[in-house]
């Protein structure tokens, strides 16, 4: 039984040899295959080349570059020699590379091309431990005199020579590997501070892959396209850990720009992407549909309506009627099959989204098409995924149930805690952070969450951003705001309630969408302020607020809201330039409105000073209605 990833590779190579494709890379317009035997051959040659150059089990190999077979060879080669690897994001600037390479004690850097070499050379004098910088795309590097530089094939050549002198060295080294050896150092997304390096053992990585595959089985011969940064734990998990565990084929796109096209060519059985990718795909479809003929648009609209009915029926776990099934069959034949084929989604068994919230509309769209899109939850420190939607148990606002061998509980403070064989062993050279995160075997995620009545985990927000009502009920303003903003009629929302008795919201309507909605209903309006105060618009937004409330625990529901007379604007310092709400500033500026929200009055008069783009100011005076919900 294989204990380490290189042992798994050796097993797979013995089992399948040249009979199955392990990897594919599109190059020169053709998908160039690598069989399992060749895969092992590259790893072995590169490993022995590094050993010849002085790699020891105490070392770390740093890897920077786009998704290419060489990336994967380098990681497994390091592990086969008893060492470990650390992936560095390919868009890191020189200083970031320096920080990670230095902090992780990197002795060998494997980089893709001239771009990465240039960045590394910029800081190489501050990395005295680095012995070689190995590149695999030689373009433009012919005149670099740097003695530290070496080409990937050259190292493999050294490795093959080493093999001739030391036959059996590689096999013995791989066999010595233990499940408890550190396999990789994985950078944690440090949005606030320097990234930390999570130490993950072979046992961590392999148990996570095994348990995910127990829930969502894949088989050898299935296809997967690897296009997100391999330095990210999610991609590491799919490409290497699951890839070796299952033996499916990993495909590397030609260029980052050709990903969409390459996905279509491969037609993968599984995709794992952050929400951005799913949202982009949806908006591409919407744009194209708007451009097509009226006839096709009508058919598309009809089919999508049928798709939504089907999806909603299944979400509610009801049996679709015969009529619906027949109509869905027709819709699939007319529209969905072709659409999915176009997007490369036709052969999907399932696909995942994670990392951030994905709007229910996006979810419904893919399920209407018959694409089994599921939410996951996890973090670097559990080797990727710990919680996932089960097939047929999709709920938009949850992330599903824990995978096997994984215990998840909620602490007194509302924090999500995880215990499983995949939980990491600590941060590299950072005992303080380790002690904070890992207590009695429980991983403290820093995320706030709760379990719903079906045992599904709901992730609310980062714990530090969670606030409490006077009664002690915890709620996350951002979580509620995001839910409100899933509505196309709501542009911006600010939720209050810290140390208050209940939750209230101040909402900005989306002028364009609500305006169009009003025109269709022959509701006359003049300005933004006028439109926002129409009773019909209040009724419209009220429905969205009620929908949001339905997903919230009783005590944390929005009790009262109002539609603001002006749009929150970065020019008025109410939002940051990246459109994040500046909570404290708004609380101060609109304190009379907030008071009114908590006073029980039905309306208030406001007077606000606004700054025009040319710097002049003006005062608006208007009466704002406050709506009571529930």
């Amino acid at each position: 039984m294989a204990e380490t990833l290189p042992q798994l590779l050796v097993e797979n190579a013995e089992r399948w040899g040249d009979g199955r494709i392990a990897l594919r890379e599109k190059e020169y317009g053709i998908w160039q295959p690598v069989t399992w035997r060749e895969y092992l051959g590259h790893v072995k040659a590169f490993c022995l080349g590094l050993v010849h150059l002085g790699l020891t089990p105490e070392d770390t190999v740093g890897i920077i570059g786009d998704n290419r077979p060489e990336w994967v060879y380098a990681e497994l080669a390091a592990q086969a020699a008893g060492a470990r690897s650390v992936g560095i994001y390919q868009d890191s600037i020189a200083e970031e590379i320096l920080y990670i390479a230095d902090h992780a004690d990197v002795t060998f850097l494997v980089v893709e091309d001239q771009e990465q070499v240039d960045k590394v050379l910029e800081v190489i004098h501050r990395l005295p431990r680095v012995r070689k910088v190995i590149y695999h795309d030689p373009r433009g590097l012919r005149n670099y005199p740097e003695p530290l530089l070496m080409a990937f094939p050259q190292v493999e050549e050294l490795g093959r020579a080493y093999e001739a002198e030391h036959p059996g060295w590689f096999e013995a080294s791989v066999a010595r590997g233990k499940a408890t050896d550190i396999a990789i150092l994985s950078t944690t997304s440090g949005t606030t501070s320097r990234p930390k390096l999570a130490m993950l053992t072979h046992r961590n990585l392999m148990s996570m892959a095994r348990n995910l595959m127990a829930v969502d089985p894949l088989e050898p011969g299935d296809e997967y396209v690897s296009f997100l940064p391999l330095a990210w734990i999610g991609e590491q998990m799919m490409t290497i850990n699951c890839g070796l565990t299952v033996g499916f084929t990993v495909n590397f796109p030609e260029e980052p720009e050709t990903v969409q096209e390459n996905i279509r060519e491969i037609g993968p059985q599984v995709i794992f992407s952050p929400p951005r990718i799913w949202e982009n795909m949806l908006s591409t479809v919407q744009v194209k549909i708007e451009d097509t003929t009226r006839m096709k648009r009508a058919i598309y609209r009809w089919a999508l309506e049928v798709g939504y009915q089907m999806a909603d029926t299944l979400f509610e776990r009801r049996r679709p009627s015969l009529g619906l099934r027949l109509r869905y069959r027709l819709a699939d034949w007319l529209v969905f099959a072709m659409l999915k084929d176009h997007l490369g989604l036709r052969r999907l068994k399932r696909c995942y989204t994670g990392g951030a919230a994905l709007g229910p509309d996006v979810f419904r769209f893919y399920h209407a098409l018959g694409v089994n899109l599921k939410q996951i939850y996890g973090q670097t420190e559990v080797g990727g995924i710990s919680v996932v939607h089960r097939d047929g148990e999709i709920k938009f606002h949850t992330v599903g149930r824990p995978i096997p061998e994984t215990e998840v509980r909620i602490s007194e403070a509302g924090e999500i805690l995880t215990r499983s064989p995949a939980v990491f062993v600590g941060y590299y050279r950072n005992p303080e952070a380790t002690a904070e995160t890992l207590q009695d075997g429980w991983l403290h995620s820093g995320d706030a969450g709760y379990f719903d009545e079906d045992g599904h985990l709901v992730v609310i927000d980062r714990l530090k951003d969670v606030m409490a009502l006077r009664g002690g009920t915890r709620f996350s303003p951002q979580f509620i705001e995001n839910k409100l903003k899933f509505s196309q009629y709501i542009r911006e929302a600010v939720v209050f309630g810290h140390d208050r008795d209940y939750v209230t919201a101040m909402i900005n309507i989306d002028f364009a969408n609500v305006g169009k909605w009003a025109e269709r209903r022959h509701i006359a309006y003049t300005t933004y302020t006028d439109l926002a105060q129409k009773p019909q618009v209040y009724a419209l937004i009220r429905r969205d607020v009620e929908r949001t409330n339905a997903d919230l625990p009783e005590a944390a529901r929005i009790r009262r809201f109002l539609l603001l007379h002006k749009e929150l604007d970065a020019d008025d310092a109410e939002l940051t330039r990246t459109r994040k709400v500046r909570r404290r500033f708004i609380a101060e500026r609109y304190q009379h409105i907030i008071q009114a929200l908590y006073s029980g009055q039905e309306a208030l008069e406001v007077e606000t000073e606004i700054t025009y783009q040319d710097g002049t100011t003006a005062t608006i005076q208007t009466r704002l209605h406050i709506e009571e919900v529930a």
């Binding site: 190059e27 020169y28 317009g29 053709i30 373009r139 433009g140 012919r142 005149n143 030609e254 260029e255 720009e257 050709t258 096209e261």
Partner: protein, 259 residues
Amino acid sequence: MAIQALSLRFGGVAALTRVSLEIRRGEILAVIGPNGAGKTSLLNSISGLYRPQEGSIRFFPAPDDEEGVELTRRRPDEIARLGIARTFQNIELFRHMTVLDNLLLGRHIHMRANVLTGGIWWGLAQREEIEHRAVVEEIIDFLEIEPIRRQPVGTLSYGLQKRVELGRALALEPQILLLDEPMAGMNVEEKEDMARFILDINEERGVTVVLIEHDMGVVMDISDRVAVLDFGSKIADGSPQEIRSHPDVIRAYLGQEHA
């Protein structure tokens, strides 16, 4: 290649007057000069589009070939076959064809199968097509145009079209590449890319490059030698440093009184 006492006239207008110029194997030679100096006429004479009335252009395909081949009386397609490719000042591509097809057209001179042999047995044509596609794909990789491989040329940006045209010239697998203002109308970033490609073509593929260019920064940066034309005559040639301080060049560019 040795150009000797080349003269070209259109009626009474002399486009080139007794121009002599040596193009050395493996170099990047820039031809500069004010508008109407005869730079493009020179390239057109080399590639056979114009027939000079006097003088000779001898091309030495192999290093040990003392004799050489006379180009002045040859047709453009014969000259292309000898290994001399070019791009044009205004892009000359088939706008409705894809990038890939345009590049494959560049392989035309290397095709052996014709209508007759293709009609009898298509095995040869098929094998040939695979070979040519491999060459073209290698060029696509070299010029980093994978994402646009299947797009019609007409839909591409100007800078990319220029790159595709360069690719088509490369598809000929030339010994000498003549580039007529490869960077005209490009932004700084596109120019940098193009300069890098020209250097790579010269150094990695060993192609001799002759380019006409107005951007002096680029000329001084990438060329090994510079030749200056003015009113159809060569007034100087030499290293970029020599040219920069050459009194005749300064006079031609800035006018008499500044010199």
